[in-house]
């Protein structure tokens, strides 16, 4: 009995602690990245906001990314904070459609974001309204072991044939060309997206993720055939299905694999694995079909105001604040990514400069397969990609299954 009482007390106390004790003058912000870099970037921005608005009492909750993804569905309707992080594109669609996010088009108008964040505007837009303010984005591309490339006399490939030749040469020298970890599926989607963007271009990417093109379409099949040219000679590391993207850094760091199709957030992991800036470098995913305008993957992270927020006035102030060029400059310097506001200054870090050049000249910016496609399709699609990477012979069956999933998801 005593232990029962005890555990009840503990339970009640935990529940009380978890509830965000919010008062009218407070501004409650939920942030979703407790890793040291991103946390510092966020906290510095909050400090700057506090200094500029001494009358607002800011309350910050920082949770793990995966936990945040689940929790947001509860807190948006039950116990809403005033500001929360989330993702643009199709990822925000369910909340926008359910009326759980606040329309912030007025902010875009009054703060001039329509001009300064023009590149990212379409992905923040549903029904001609903007639903949040992005604070960062990052490029994708191929990270490679510069030292290995130099040893073997390989240049940065710029065309598909050069990429295949480079891969063949690496393979001859017992280096697996590509590392990848597909346990959590999305890494395979990065490869697929790039093959698709380079083979067919930005419009086909958008039409496919919008459900307007079938997976059995010859153009999409073509993408898989290109992919096959990397899979069948064994250009991807084995056992990738059991590895996370972090696990897959190990062969890269050990020099067993030389290239990695990844986002810029991975640079930190390479450094932590003991690689120096002299050993790693970046090149844009090479051209496949000549003449297709170069589009890039550049996922953004953004802040949103829940429709049920208590303090929308101060929340608007915060969103306007983090959209400012100087704040975005500082923030992205800390986290090693690109500021969304075009008037912000880009850090002089090697990879950020490369990234800036990459997205700057792009004909279109894709979010990512699992943000552009609806969740149900994304899951089925990415499982299909993983299966194809392991059993390329099953291509036809996989594509048929994806068509079936597509029919259901876009009903």
């Amino acid at each position: 009995m005593k232990s029962l009482i005890k555990s009840t007390i503990v339970g009640v106390a935990t529940a009380a602690m978890m509830a965000t004790a919010a008062f009218a003058g407070d501004l409650v912000i939920n942030f979703d990245d407790p890793n040291p870099g991103p946390k510092k970037g966020f906290e510095d921005a909050v400090e700057a906001f506090k200094a500029a608005n001494p009358d607002i009492n800011v309350v910050v909750n920082i949770t793990d990314r995966e936990a945040h993804k689940t929790a947001i569905r509860n807190f948006l309707s039950a116990d809403a904070p005033d500001v929360t992080t989330w993702y643009p594109g199709n990822r925000m669609a369910p909340f926008v459609n359910a009326g759980l996010f606040e329309d912030v088009s007025d902010l875009w108008e009054s703060e001039g974001f329509n001009e300064t964040m023009k590149a990212i505007r379409p992905t923040m837009t549903i029904d001609d309204k903007q639903w949040g303010v992005p604070y960062t984005y990052y490029q994708w591309g191929i990270y490679y072991r510069k030292d290995i490339f130099e040893d073997l006399g390989i240049e940065e490939p710029t065309t598909w044939d050069e990429l295949l030749a480079a891969s063949a040469k690496l393979k001859e020298n017992d280096v697996t060309p590509f590392t990848i970890g597909t346990k959590f599926l999305w890494t395979a989607a990065g490869v697929f997206d790039y093959l698709n963007l380079r083979t067919n271009g930005y419009d086909v990417h958008n039409d496919l993720t919008a459900g307007k093109i079938k997976y059995t379409d010859p153009r999409i099949k073509n993408v898989f055939e290109k992919w096959r040219e990397l899979i069948e000679p064994g250009y991807f590391i084995e056992n990738h299905a059991t590895m996370s993207w972090q696990d897959a850094v190990a062969p890269f760091a050990k020099g067993e694999a030389a290239m990695y199709v990844m986002g810029n957030f991975s640079v930190d992991a390479y450094k932590n694995a003991g690689l120096t800036y002299d050993q790693i470098d970046f090149f844009q995913f090479p051209e496949i079909t000549p003449g297709v305008p170069r589009a890039e993957e550049a996922p953004a992270d953004a802040f949103f105001i829940p429709a049920n927020a208590n303090n929308k006035e101060d929340a608007r102030k915060f969103l306007a604040f983090i959209g400012q060029p100087d704040i975005q400059t500082e923030w992205n310097k800390t986290i090693g990514q690109l500021p969304v506001n075009s008037e912000a200054t880009v850090s002089d870090d090697k990879f950020i400069q490369e990234g800036f050049a990459t997205v700057g000249g792009a004909a279109g910016l894709a979010q990512f397969y699992d943000r552009d496609a609806p969740a149900e399709m994304a899951k089925a699609g990415m499982e299909g990609f993983q299966e194809f990477m392991i059993k390329p012979d099953r291509l036809d069956a996989i594509l048929k299954r994806l068509d079936k999933a597509q029919e259901r998801a876009y009903k």
Binding site: E66, T70, P94, L185, T242, A375, E376, E383, R401
Partner: protein
């Protein structure tokens, strides 16, 4: 018996003028004691069962409006390859998990001796059941890793290329079941150990006088007395196999490409995971899983009821 101090009413002199409650105290009391538990059971177990069956007739993302679909979720289920993979894996789990029972019995017989430090050995064997399933899953994920896990080392010692157990659609489920068996065997072992404590020494003695030893002693004297322990072991193993969720979540997340899914994880994936939130479809899977469990549960309840009647 006024000494108990419960009943101070004077001995009735003819007419019974006690209140209804006082008259029916003995009948009412058990229900009163049961009421809190029953209330919670109804609110948190019974009602949700019907709720999720109800939701399985809708299309619902958990946020917006529910759209009535009728049986469409079930039609889709019948046409869903992933569902059949999960069902097949569930069967595999059920069948192979039963190995925990003979293995547990064997270890229990082996440990049921009086040797110095036996308690330490027993607790060591019981250890896997005490640690969290998540930890077991992680440990085996490392074991199975072909590049640095122990499986890889053993294979390489014999000059073979190590298989990627968790990356191969044909091996992955066996790999996870094997990991799951480790704590499950410990559980069955502890059930049998307590069972063996209650084996009557007189009967062993009598059996020995009649010339029973080894196998025949086990088969005809010890085993029948272990029947209650066996029943319990079967129940927990069946339930454990059907609940097999945490291992899969930790070791493969149902992958590669869904080939290690079971119904419980598939349900979670469609209804609650990052790419899911199809509450209706998830509920339909849950309903099927519930129907399967109901078969076993009814059998167990019936068996228990029979035994109780036989006992009186």
């Amino acid at each position: 018996m006024s000494t108990t101090g419960f009943d101070h009413t004077p001995i009735p002199s003819g007419e019974d003028n006690r209140s209804w409650y006082q008259k029916n105290r003995l009948k009412v009391a058990p229900w009163l004691f049961l009421a809190p538990a029953a209330l919670f059971f109804i609110v948190y177990v019974i009602a949700p069962i019907f709720q999720s069956i109800w939701i399985s007739f809708f299309q619902w993302d958990g946020l917006g409006e529910k759209v009535w679909l009728g049986l469409e979720n079930y039609y889709e289920l019948v046409d869903d390859d992933r569902f059949y993979t999960s069902l097949k894996n569930n069967t595999l789990w059920l069948v192979l998990y039963m190995l925990a029972i003979p293995a547990g019995l064997f270890i229990a017989l082996f440990l049921n001796q009086t040797v110095m430090g036996m308690r330490i050995y027993k607790s060591l064997f019981f250890f896997p059941f005490v640690i969290s399933q998540v930890v077991v899953g992680l440990i085996f994920t490392w074991f199975y890793n072909p590049s640095f896990g122990i499986v890889g080392l053993v294979w390489e010692f014999f000059g073979a290329t190590p298989p990627s157990i968790l990356g191969d659609e044909n091996l992955v489920t066996y790999g996870i079941i094997f990991a799951g068996l480790w704590p499950q065997i410990a559980y069955c072992m502890i059930l049998y150990l307590t069972g063996l404590n209650n084996v009557s020494p007189d009967q062993i003695e009598a059996g020995r006088l009649d010339g029973a030893k080894g196998w025949s002693m086990l088969r005809y004297v010890v085993w029948p007395q272990l029947a209650p322990a066996t029943f319990l072991a079967v129940v927990v193993t069946v339930i454990g196999a059907l609940r097999s969720f945490d291992m899969i979540a930790i070791m493969t997340q149902g992958g590669p490409y869904g080939s290690s899914n079971v119904l419980s994880y598939y349900m979670f994936e469609t209804a609650l995971s990052e790419y899911g939130f199809r509450m209706g479809y998830g509920s339909a899977i849950a309903t099927v899983l519930f129907a399967i469990m109901l078969l076993f549960i009814s059998y167990f309840l019936w068996k228990m009821y029979q035994e109780e009647r036989g006992g009186h």
